[in-house]
């Protein structure tokens, strides 16, 4: 199925829970109401003409303070029918909650833990909601755009003191070079 047809089917089935569709994007993206993502996922997984059995990637994104939202992006693929779609949900930056999809695609369990670890949105009904890459007692979520690193971690100073060493990286700063601008 084409992304347009998938969007139309979703629109027909879920109505207002499908908030937007970007057909001209590099990967056509359907934006879904956060509370409906589990139902949409279950529908896409099981419907005979969808059969999205593979969650290729689940990524968190911070859309910044201006937009005040965190995103979760799901890249889906069907190994049987060979079609692809991208879903996106958005949640508020503070106390955002997204339903988990890890009972539909098992790989989501760890990917959601990673998104929580690095961005801080909660995944409702997740069976094992812990940090995965950072220590359990780390403060803050590092991939947020306004992240400030903590001063001490278990008595060890964390922020880097002093200037970074000179390693000649400024060769690559194209923005400073007018002949390339």
């Amino acid at each position: 199925m084409t992304p347009e047809a998938i969007h139309d089917a979703l629109q027909q089935y879920f109505g207002e829970a499908i908030t937007a569709f970007d057909a001209d994007a590099i990967d056509p993206t359907v934006t879904v109401e956060a509370s409906a993502i589990h139902d949409v996922g279950a529908y896409l997984r099981s419907e005979p003409d969808m059969l999205f059995d593979s969650l290729m990637c689940l990524s968190g994104v911070d859309y910044g303070e201006a937009q005040n939202s965190l995103g979760v992006v799901y890249h889906l693929h069907s190994t049987a029918l060979r079609h692809t779609i991208t879903l996106r949900v958005e949640a508020p930056r503070q106390d955002g909650v997204v339903p988990t999809v890890c009972d539909i695609w098992r790989t989501a369990e760890w990917h959601e833990r990673e998104a929580f670890d690095l961005f801080g949105m909660r995944f409702d009904r997740h069976p094992d909601h812990r940090r995965i890459l950072l220590p359990d007692d780390w403060e803050g979520h590092p991939l947020l755009k306004d992240y400030q690193v903590q001063e001490f971690y278990q008595g060890i100073p964390v922020p880097y003191e002093g200037d970074p060493p000179e390693i000649g990286m400024d060769v690559y700063r194209f923005q400073d070079r007018e002949d390339l601008a």
Partner: protein
Amino acid sequence: MCAMAGKPTGDVYRFQDSKGQWRTHRRPSHHQDGFRSGGPGISYERQGDDLILQMGPQHPSTHGVLRLEIVTDGELVKHITPHLGYLHRCFEKHAEAMTYPQVIPYADRMDYLSAMNQELAYVLAVEKLMGLKEFPERLEYIRVLMAELQRIASHLLAIGTYGLDVGAMTPFFWCVRDREKILDLFEWVSGARLLYNYLWIGGVAHDLPAGYTDKVMEFVTYFEPRVQELNDLLSSNKIFIERAASIGVLTAEDAISYGIGGPNLRGSGVKWDLRKEEPYGIYDRFDFDVPVGTGEFGVLGSAWDRYIVRVREMLESLKIIRQVVDQMPGSDPNEAMPRRIRPAKGEAYLRTESPRGELGFYLVSDGTEKPYRCKARSPCFTAISALNAMNHGGMLIADAVAVIGSLDIVLGEIDR
């Protein structure tokens, strides 16, 4: 290798007596209290009497710094909780502070055993984001050549260390000896042995040196008979087959649901290779087969099936390399290299077939020279998450080591 005395199948315990005869033994009833068996893959449940074993982070068979918290009952593994992050180097946070070309060396360091494939995936993702499609022929061929040489190097190390994990020392030395020849080829072209920064966006760091393809062909003719030697030494070794062909069984359905790709998925009998299914670059021009596991010596999807897929893939890579060298055109590979990398606002996800499976990059651009978000979707991350799905009730502690080895994980890529 002699630790295979017991093969537990439910409450009936099989063991070999001193004459090598297989005999069965029913567990005493007080051992069965609290056990619950369910179906052909027996699952155990027991309250109390559990021993929690910490394996790692410093352990030779975890292939890096990985800690496994293993709940054991005697010799049986009941549950494994992997703890990651010991090698977390904030790749994704760093990437947001770098310009697009500056990220390439960081991508190298994710999976340091197949750095060319990491570069290729990242570079292709940026090109997809920028909408670049037309490249000089020579560049495309160089990319395929590098990716396939790196695949062989990576598989050689996977095979060698897997032999080491289950107690076979010699194959490791043979594999490392042959891998060294590939690293020499890489050193010649890029100046580095492991972390190359060679494939750039829309180009390469340097064109191939004169006489490079001749040396590649020299390696191919040298290496092809070595695969047969390796098969004679390890693949068809009875001890090795008995050790590996019935453990760590991963069903095809589980594998897809856990997002596993590459040799681990094909070991479960699924004919799925992104080079065939979604040909990126010029992979659609080459003639090669996709080997899959068949369960010929045990259960389909076992550790041995995953192992043998890697061995056979090396031969397929050699096939591709021969075709690349035959067809290699002569021109400037860097003709179309964009001097200024500033993708328009947008986002793109691209996945490639790395030696360890499906390696993807999700890039979001806000129209500046630095990625707004750069997510690496790592194949090893998903592979290690399926560890408990490979335990059907009879996994021994020693099997856990053999199963992890068969997954071919690299912690640099899991933790990023």
